[in-house]
């Protein structure tokens, strides 16, 4: 058994392998993970909207030992990750970290939000630092405005409104 605690280190090895096969392959994998995650999220997100999303990430905050702040607003959910255990574990590792490890989060969350008609703005800030900012908007124009303030904006498979990952 690879312990749950070491899943991110396994994930990192998978990313490194897939990166050698090309970006499309990496995107196909994130889509597969996204479909897997739909089983844990879609019903609540569809039924309870932003509040359902807040509840999901609050559960993740506890189970994954995250230092994060969640703010639920009428028009958006805002998540500020102050200390990401996933990247921290990948960096505290005898194997080398994949340089774009952080990209996987938007890679699975983005397609779910697209299916639900919400607008994800995912700012990784810096791939070497275990912190990021995620915002989920009801309104597309507000999301566009927030994208302009991002330091390192993430892309995901199927994202079609013009913003490409740096």
């Amino acid at each position: 058994m690879i312990p749950s605690d070491h899943f991110t280190k396994f994930y990192n090895e998978v990313f490194k392998f897939l990166e050698t096969k090309g970006n499309e392959v990496l995107h196909a994998y994130w889509l597969e993970i996204s479909r897997n995650q739909e089983r844990h999220t879609m019903e609540a997100f569809r039924a309870d909207g932003l509040r359902g999303m807040r509840d999901y990430w609050d559960h993740i905050r506890i189970e994954e030992n995250c230092d994060l702040d969640l703010e639920l607003h009428e028009d958006r959910l805002e998540l500020n990750m102050n200390a990401c255990p996933s990247l921290r574990k990948v960096m505290d590792n005898d194997a080398n970290p994949m340089s774009r490890y952080c990209d996987h989060c938007a890679g699975w969350i983005g397609p779910i939000m697209d299916k639900l008609g919400y607008h994800l703005v995912y700012d990784v800030i810096d791939r070497q630092e275990p912190r990021c900012k995620m915002q989920i908007f009801k309104d597309r124009d507000q999301a566009r405005e927030a994208e302009g303030q991002a330091k390192l904006l993430m892309d995901w498979p199927g994202k079609s409104d013009g913003n490409k990952a740096k």
């Binding site: 749950s4 605690d5 089983r39 005898d94």
Partner: protein, 153 residues
């Protein structure tokens, strides 16, 4: 083969446990095998055994199985496994009666991958490869196994 010490493990995780990660491992195994074949999956597990668990491997290479036994106890305890470890003079036997990973996936996923337990078999093999010990993994049933560390002849 066992030299007890009170040093912390290289990866000494604490806090809460997110068991759903096992579901993502299950999805990943099927994705990799479907698209790249079983050899690719085995190779990734081998990298986990060699590179991620370089510290355990280093101890095994030096003839010391203590770190691996400590690793088993720490993480099987954290995940609430039903298991026993029998340390004998010439071998260490881990008997897993109820694997938390397998049974959690069975609960949350449509199907447990036919290759789910390869994560154990292949990672064990890679940790021990080229060293004084062999680690045999015997799958004894759905969600149960025996893992045996013994000196190579």
């Amino acid at each position: 083969m066992i030299k007890p010490d009170d040093k912390p493990l290289r990866y000494n995780d604490g806090g809460n446990v997110h068991m759903d990660f096992h579901g993502a491992t299950n999805t990943t195994i099927d994705f990799i095998i479907k698209n790249f074949g079983i050899e690719a999956m085995d190779d990734i597990f081998a990298r986990v055994g060699r590179d991620v668990y370089a510290d355990i491997r280093g101890h095994l290479m030096a003839g010391n199985a203590t770190e691996l036994v400590k690793h088993w106890r720490h993480f099987f305890d954290r995940e609430g496994a039903d298991y026993a470890i029998d340390v004998r003079e010439d071998e260490v036997v881990l008997t897993v009666n109820h694997c938390p990973a397998y049974h959690h996936v069975k609960k949350i996923a449509p199907k447990v991958s036919d290759h789910f337990c390869d994560q154990t078999t292949k990672t064990n093999e890679a940790m021990a490869e080229g060293g004084p010990f062999a680690i045999a993994t015997e799958i004894t049933g759905p969600g149960s196994c025996r893992q045996i560390i013994r000196k190579r002849p």
